[in-house]
Subunit: 423 residues, 2 copies
């Protein structure tokens, strides 16, 4: 029975039951974490072959014959440029393979635009009222980067197909709008993949600012959970087709393919953008960690290796997602107090609780030992106008704890909803 | 006999001999490189134990019990904070251990100062006529970073004890002077170590700009070539003693301890400076490559391990330096046309040829297949006012080629000097 169809007495009865359920959690002294998109350690075990992939016996030379134990090679190893080119749909000559963090690549790109402008444009620092488009709910660390650099964060609503392109097209008429954050596949946290129409409209943007860039963070490019995954149009090809190749900067990494934090990140873009990025890198570094790149090149030799690895990851992650989704169905469907995404890939479930309840749910979970991503985090400035969205990351808890984690979460949602209805 | 005591006829005779010697090099089709401070691959072999130091059997946890195969840990592993603290003379809590490049740490620090100011100061970007002190001859990549960020590069002469402190003390009265580049031990390229007096005067600076910082790049902190190395005063302790703890930022890396480009870099500073740096890093990255840090922590457990490793490096590098220095003595002492440093550590010999000859020597070497660091590179804007200094890096050529490399270099110096005397 839906909560909003219940009498006050029924609600009070239900609340007593839920409260009792909830209070039992205290005795369990739980320590659960569904806060960040961290793979579990059983996922890390899948990359064991990486550990000793490069040594005296296997040799230190890459396909070009470069001994990787020395300085040099600004844009990374050929093999990985090819692999990331294939993942991002861009020729390998237009790929830069960097260090361990794609967030770092994005941050550095914005920092470069701040002090040196984009491809000959004015430094963004000199643009007093600079703005950045933030499809929300979205990724808190994206928003954080542009907040750090003093941008006004402009919320763009998310639709079922991706960012609301009517809003985007309207906003880019403003020349102080310099870019947009996108997680186009299995978006963080909605888990949705941009529709072909959205991708095409994005590629065809004609922003007033010639230095406007789409930051296309394809973090979950190959991260299907099920046999039949979503498919995403090649954004670079669409930009080229629209006569707009310089519009986009594409990012990805192996963080959730091999080891989070010890993987390899890459950026791909048009020749003009790549040459702009390399100009800064020439001063910034003598080159990336080529040995770690070589490790990756040896265990991820081609897209077949990548797909096989992602199937192994999916086999570990799918049961966790299924478990959380089943518990949501079990506890939250009947009361009609929440809706949530059912992603076919990526790392998150986006949960919408009754307006005004997200922060309370977060607190109820925290009090019994379960960390969730801070409510509000999925919106610019950490402020969800409805206080309704929670980003659920089922990936990290061990599979034997995930049922408990899901149970705690759903009980907390019912608790908060009932509390609100009775207040 | 000194060239400047020779008659024209004697000079012509000598030139004919030298020219013949030089021209024979063409037939050898040489491919020699004394351009960059790159260790040889036999040095890389010394870090073979790094390759498989972290795997399933040895385990992925560090001393704190953190499994390093996941995100997190902004300032690096405890073990390495302790090690770099010991190398740089700073408590481990005031150390940030980063990625593979100390140059990158320095670049990012200046970038942060550009857009966000230093510790609450005004962004350097807003300082229209910003200046940076560049002791010269010095490290071209240091100069490059500040040139990239639009600083006027101010040349400070080097003395036998380090930068000319009279000049430095005068320059820091100018509030648009924001910092100074220092390689205090086995300086690049002079190979000299700052005297105690220079270190103390540097620590006691009272710059007009409160956001002035000494960029103390202690790249060769433990890089002795001989049993008896130079010793450098602890700069941070001296800054504290002078009531000036926020003056300095100390950098180093394992690039020439383990693998160049695949090592670990660190920055150490006062609590205020460290907290300023971390504020940026919170937005920039989710953390460094902890697995590579763990590899390093396992083979460099303490200063004894570091010293033992550096002795092994020295055993390979010393003969190369000795060979080049002996050839300089043999060919260049009598003619009295050059002077050069005799460093007790580091990676370079600084060679001074007759004014106006450095570029010609570089070209003569290049023409027969030997790459030197571009003449002028050791000065701001790549312009040596005397065209006299060459940075010689004996570390990279295999020991069996080093004698030939030294011979070519010295013949080229004599060639250029004679050509000039005869012109």
């Amino acid at each position: 029975m839906k909560y909003n169809e219940m009498s006050r007495q029924q609600l009070e009865q239900e609340f007593a039951t839920v409260k009792k359920e909830y209070e039992q959690f205290f005795d369990l002294h739980l320590s659960l974490d569904m806060s960040r998109g961290k793979p579990g350690f059983e996922n890390a075990d899948l990359s064991e072959d990486l550990s000793c992939a490069v040594n005296r016996e296997t040799g230190y030379k890459n396909a070009d014959g470069t001994d990787c134990r020395n300085y040099g090679g600004l844009d990374g190893l050929t093999e990985l440029k090819q692999l990331f080119g294939a993942i991002l749909g861009v020729p390998s000559t237009q790929v830069i393979v960097g260090g361990n963090s794609s967030l770092n690549l994005m941050f550095d790109t914005i920092a470069q635009a701040m002090t040196h402008g984009v491809c000959g444009g004015k430094p963004w620092f000199t643009e007093e009222k600079r703005k950045f488009l933030c499809p929300a709910p979205g990724y808190d660390r994206h928003f954080g980067v542009t907040e750090y650099f003093g941008f006004e964060l402009v919320t763009v609503p998310m639709t079922d197909e991706g960012p609301d392109m009517d809003a985007v097209e309207e906003w880019v008429k403003d020349p102080t709008v310099k870019g947009i954050w996108c997680v186009p596949k299995y978006s963080n946290p909605e888990g949705l993949t941009y529709s072909d129409a959205v991708v095409r409209r994005m590629a065809a943007l004609r922003p007033a600012a010639s230095d406007f860039r789409v930051f296309w963070d394809n973090a979950y490019a190959v991260h299907d959970l099920y046999e039949q995954g979503d498919s995403l149009l090649d954004f670079y090809a669409e930009c080229e087709r629209a006569g707009n190749p310089d519009l986009c900067l594409l990012f990805t990494s192996t963080s959730k393919i091999t080891f989070p934090g010890a993987g390899v990140a890459a950026v791909a873009a048009s020749p003009a953008n790549i040459s702009w990025l390399k100009n800064r890198m020439t001063y910034q570094t003598i080159g990336p960690d080529k040995i770690n790149q070589l490790r990756h090149a040896r265990i991820l030799r081609n897209m077949d290796d990548v797909c096989a690895q992602m199937k192994r990851h999916a086999a570990l992650l799918r049961p966790k997602f299924d478990c959380v989704l089943a518990e949501m169905d079990r506890q939250l469907a009947d009361p009609g107090i929440a809706r949530w995404s059912k992603p076919k890939g990526g790392y998150f479930i986006s949960l919408y609780v009754p307006n005004g309840c997200a922060q309370r749910v977060w607190k109820l979970c925290a009090d019994v030992g379960m960390v969730l991503t801070k409510s509000g985090a999925t919106y610019p400035y950490g402020k969800d106008p409805d206080d309704a969205n929670l980003r659920i990351a089922p990936s990290f808890p061990p599979v034997e704890e995930i049922a408990r984690a899901a149970e705690v979460l759903c009980v907390a949602v019912r608790y908060a909803a009932l509390e609100q209805l009775l207040s």
